[in-house]
Point group: C2
Chain length 333, copies 2
């Protein structure tokens, strides 16, 4: 921005005062219709663009929100961001976003940067390792509402927008049961994540839904050590009574598991059936692929996240739902 047309320029050319022009442009009823038209026409002609910096300075509002996500490389987040972006733009908000790359300390630093940037609200999907979210208190105290999405904190009740993973998990199990499976294993996600906990509980409920027993041997947490998924799969497959299907916390896990099977047991008579969260577009190109993916529409989720934050920024704080759930659906490949 070098030098744009200002209200003053317009006012001078029209022989009006700056404030009159200002009002006319914002359709203030106290300005006569003929003047209003004159003003708007000139503004159009001169290609007037209001200076946001001035408006923000005046109104003490920046129409700017911060978005913090783990990693844009995950296409799910890329789409969520799209939903946020589009919805925010529709409400004249601009978005400053950054990525933590799963590093909690980087998360801290980014939040500080956001503050420095004077955001009006924050949308955040925390790191898998984030255990304390007291930054929320600082922000909320400063009048900056915080809304979590996808991943939510377990150390507080938050405003958040998430996929309805519990129901999604039940649905996934139901699908496997319909396919005739009775021994269904679960590769679960990090215990520290609420999200993975919910999916785990959905799995348990899914089994109960069909009067299937819960066998602890069928539940694996691939987390520590090298090639954790390989080890988990190894244990599963060597059970006396191995599973016939596996429900995974995320389809990225499914891919690792399948790689393992193809590498170590290429000639297995009966392949395992998989189903997991995350509708990766490239999955359909894989031969040995999961039966189906379960997921909420990421764009909807992003839109809902912005909507909730928007409500909170509009100080209608009492009426808003604290938690919003986006329904999941199954995509069969």
């Amino acid at each position: 921005m070098r030098r744009g047309v200002t209200l003053k320029d317009l006012a001078k050319e029209l022989g009006l005062s700056v404030s009159a022009v200002s009002k006319a442009l914002r359709n203030d009823p106290s300005i006569g219709p003929s003047t209003t038209v004159r003003v708007r026409q000139l503004a159009e002609g001169r290609n007037y663009v209001p200076n946001l910096a001035a408006i923000h300075l005046k109104q003490k509002r920046n129409f700017k929100i911060g978005v913090i996500i783990p990693d844009l490389f995950d296409q799910f987040y890329a789409l969520v961001l799209r939903g946020i972006e589009d919805t925010a733009a529709r409400h004249q908000y601009s978005v400053v976003f950054t990525q933590t790359h799963e590093q909690p300390d980087r998360e801290r630093a980014l939040i500080d940067t956001m503050l420095r940037n004077r955001i009006d609200g924050l949308l955040i999907s925390i790191t898998a390792k984030t255990d304390r979210t007291d930054f929320v208190d600082q922000l909320e105290a400063a009048g900056i509402p915080v809304v979590f999405f996808v991943r939510t904190p377990h150390d507080r009740v938050s405003y958040d927008v998430t996929a309805d993973s519990f129901e999604g998990s039940r649905e996934a199990i139901m699908y496997l049961v319909q396919k005739g499976h009775r021994r269904i294993a679960h590769l679960r996600g990090p215990t520290a994540m609420t999200l993975s906990q919910v999916r785990y509980e959905g799995y348990l409920q899914g089994l109960r839904d069909h009067q299937l027993p819960v066998d602890p041997e069928l539940i694996k947490l691939p987390e520590s050590g090298p090639d954790p998924t390989d080890r988990a799969m190894c244990e599963l497959i060597q059970l006396n009574e191995p599973p016939t299907a596996i429900f995974t916390y995320k389809n990225y896990l499914t891919l690792d598991a399948i790689s393992f099977l193809q590498r170590e047991y290429p000639t297995r008579a009966r392949p395992l059936d998989f189903i997991g969260f995350g509708n990766l577009p490239l999955l359909k190109h894989i031969d040995y692929r999961p039966l189906a993916a379960i997921d909420a529409d990421p764009i909807d989720l992003g839109a809902a996240a912005f909507a909730l934050l928007h409500q909170r920024m509009g100080n209608a704080t009492d009426l808003v739902e604290r938690q919003v759930k986006i329904p999941c659906h199954l995509t069969v490949y």
Copy 2:
């Protein structure tokens, strides 16, 4: 941003003038060292954050750039954006980005929005169908430099940062030749895109490098009609002397081609070898996958794009290179 500590607050508390505090904070030499220290300490203690809106208003600079890309869903762009983001942040610039979803008219509208947002510079990767880029003239006339990246206009000489696709293509062909291939087909990209034109020419040069003849029958443009890739593949495979390897404009095309082969010619004696642009992370999970991917490091590319724009925004306009090329490298699967 509700209400932050201001210079005035600090000044009052210190019994100094606002301007003195302002100078102290910016290390103005005209302020005594003891005062400077006093000021900085209080600023720290009170957690002072300068108000960007005010600074921008004063300095007529927003430290904000616009980024327009086709689609974030393409992981290549997701990574380029990461490079831009990180580098911009390091220079105190914030980034406003939007996606065109390959729609030229949306592109127009977005540029207007950017103007309204008073960006100091624009980084853009145009639509596959963008044929006129006269918006550049408007922007440059307004003092807003424009730098293209990845995809460049063919209706003007631009400032741009691109992958060195020409050399990359030659390298790809060399790899195939080393593998013993002599009949190498090319699935090329849209003729309207400079990028795809360059890759096409790199392919031609690659053949010449090894004294291979150019056979027009081996060059296909999968563009119009339904399932264009399928049709192109169909034609190639039914040639009297079909190709033994295919060099594709983009590995997304490779995937479509492979799907076709698996569907229509599942029992083909000797499978075709593929190589294409775009290092998709999920490729390694596919059984019938391309031999290799050729690509520039997207993060480097993003960083270079910001760097070029940054130079141009810093009015060192005479010294800067107009075109920057990022080298490609081969990833063998």
